[in-house]
């Protein structure tokens, strides 16, 4: 049953992303209404699967790579809907939905089941730590999507190439505002996640080595948030600077994760 829910929501996300892509390729500058309905439908199924996981395993899908990617995909899909409605950036799903499909596909491939050591991580503070971390990375991903679209739209406007991107992408000001909101929220949640993680380690007297991979990655991510936020302030070309910082920062965080994970596969576990 839950497997079917996962596959159906994955398929629907894929269809919605494809519809957006086709609409962009057609260059008519309009968001297919159907895509919005499909994303909402997929999100409902996703949430249903989330609740089913909780009911079945008596814990939230926050431990283990599969469950975390599954939850991150859901938060991102929700972020895409929020960006489309409250953020007036209805085509930002063009970038975010493929990421959602990628995350959800990876989660389904890995298996959305709790990790074997899940019981060790039971507790409200741990759940909050992971949840806030997921929200933080979702914020960074939204900033990445908005930043990428900003750079492409900026290029269209500067080079006077009024093509499909010009018509389909939101205005620069909207993308800048969306990216900044993503960074601000992401930074806040990420900082909270770090603080809770630190308190949790202190409370249980867990010893973490200075070169701990999780610690290094979390620290790098926090610095990326800071750098992107600083780059997007002040005058001059702040919009472009902020967009570049969001895009490069996101790629750096992803690359660092993959690198650490490859390293960890030889000598120990890493998320």
């Amino acid at each position: 049953m839950t497997g079917l829910l996962h596959l159906t929501s994955l398929g629907l996300y894929g269809i919605a992303a494809a519809l957006l892509g086709v609409s962009l390729a057609k260059g008519d500058g309009r968001l297919p209404r159907m895509a919005a309905f499909i994303v909402v439908g997929a999100l409902v199924l996703h949430a249903w699967a989330f609740a089913a996981f909780w009911a079945h395993w008596n814990e939230l899908p926050l431990v283990g790579l599969g469950p975390v990617l599954f939850t991150l995909a859901m938060v991102l899909a929700l972020g895409s809907v929020i960006a489309a409605t409250l953020g007036h950036a209805n085509t930002v799903g063009l970038v975010l939905l493929p990421v959602v499909v990628l995350l959800m596909g990876a989660a389904v491939a890995i298996g959305v089941v709790p990790a074997s050591d899940a019981l060790r991580f039971q507790g409200v503070w741990f759940a909050l730590h992971v949840l806030f971390a997921i929200l933080g990375y979702a914020g960074l991903t939204v900033a990445f999507g908005a930043g990428l679209m900003y750079l492409l739209q900026f290029r269209e406007l500067k080079t006077k190439h009024f093509g499909a991107i010009f018509r389909f992408f939101p205005p620069l000001a909207t993308l800048e505002r969306l990216g900044r909101s993503g960074l601000m929220l992401g930074f806040s949640f990420h900082t909270l996640a770090l603080l809770i993680g630190w308190a949790w380690v202190e409370r249980f007297g867990i010893v973490m080595a200075g070169g701990n991979a999780k610690l290094a990655w979390a620290g790098l991510s926090w610095l990326v948030f800071i750098a992107a936020l600083v780059a997007g302030t002040g005058g001059g070309r702040r919009g472009r600077r902020g967009a570049w910082a969001s895009v490069l920062g996101f790629l750096l965080v992803v690359a660092a994760y993959l690198l650490i994970r490859v390293q960890a596969s030889h000598g120990g576990a890493f998320l």
């Binding site: 007036h88 739209q153 006077k160 205005p171 620069l172 000001a173 909207t174």
Partner: protein, 455 residues
Amino acid sequence: MVEHFCDGDMALAVIGLSHRTAPVAVRERFAYDRGEVPAALGRLVESGVADEAVLLSTCNRTEIYVSASDVVSGSAAALSILAEHAGETAEASARYLYQHRDRSAVEHLFRVVAGLESMAVGEPQIQGQVKDAYNLARETTSAAGAVVGATANRLFQTALAVGGRVRSETGLGVGAASIPSAAVELSRKIFGSLKGRRALILGAGEMSEVTLECLRSAGVGSCLVANRTHERARDLAGRWGGEAIEFDEFASALSSVDILISSTAAATPVLTRDLFRGSNPSGVSRPLCIIDIGMPRDVETAMAEEANVFLYNIDDLRQIVDHNLGQRRGELPRAEAIIGEGVEEFWGWYVGLAVVPTIRDLRERSEAVRQAEVEKALRRLAHLAPEDQEAIDALTRGLLNKLLHMPTVRLREAAGNGRGTSVLDTVRYLFELDGEAEHGEAEDSPDSTEKEINR
């Protein structure tokens, strides 16, 4: 009534002129101010040749829609009112005017509302203009009564619904279709909403004013106007609630505005990069959208290299307009299909009006027979209790309704599929309805007709 529909002499017509048939100088003479419309509609309806009338007057068209029992007289009266207003004879006006009747008139209105007949195909303002014209006619009362009745109500409500569908279901209204609106579209792609943005208008010519009008209606908050002749700058600023500044000050004002519209008659660029740098040594700290619609260009192309500056000239705007118009043309078949559906819907209802008198006559005749027979029977059955008598009355009423249900449905279907004439004649002959349907005050009442057809 039956013969009226039989010979195809439908009582709907539109007469008018538009940008396609008349130059602007002629259109100006035929145009009506809002305050003049009620009197014109009143005259038309009071003359007795038109039952209902709506007058649409925009900068690109003036049209009178009439519903009349004698469409020829109705059109002639409308023509004479238009000609008189323009100060011309009917004969002289005729060469600018077009007429559509019946189904063609309905289709014309639907095309107008959808923007297919507009100068810039798909422009949205016409929907509001038609709505205003319809509402004004609804508020107008002549000595002969209201100038809008069941037919015009249904016609214009359907037309507005069709216009709404065309705009929401097709891409006909997407994108700018004129140079000023392309300037707005470009600005929006940079700033999003233009609400509260500041604009600087360089040059006080007609193009500057039209673009300023577009920007103001898009939400631009305040504007500065600079012109070599300061008086003209002050006039333009006064008309649009702006502020006139000295021409020499415009470069330093650039750091405080979001949009610059430049349309001067200067032979050489008035805004060079050196001038900009001289007035704004550190450039501008926020995006500045420069729309240069001057010919020759007013802004040096090197300005595009400045950080935060987005520079566009008239060719860039034309590129956007051409693309949008091309896209809109591609949407025409879909728009026409929606219009076709709307015409079918209205026409089905309108043609159905022809069967209403027959249905009513048939029901009245049958009811009269029923009542007479029931009374006759009850006189013989006077010993029955009142409840039993009521039961007999209800039984006959139910029987009659059941018997008449299918003929009523079939008559309406026949009216819609073009077989109405012969079927109506047959029904009237079989039930001896002729001679009863031709008179009666209620029969001509639009309200009673509308209630009947909606039943």
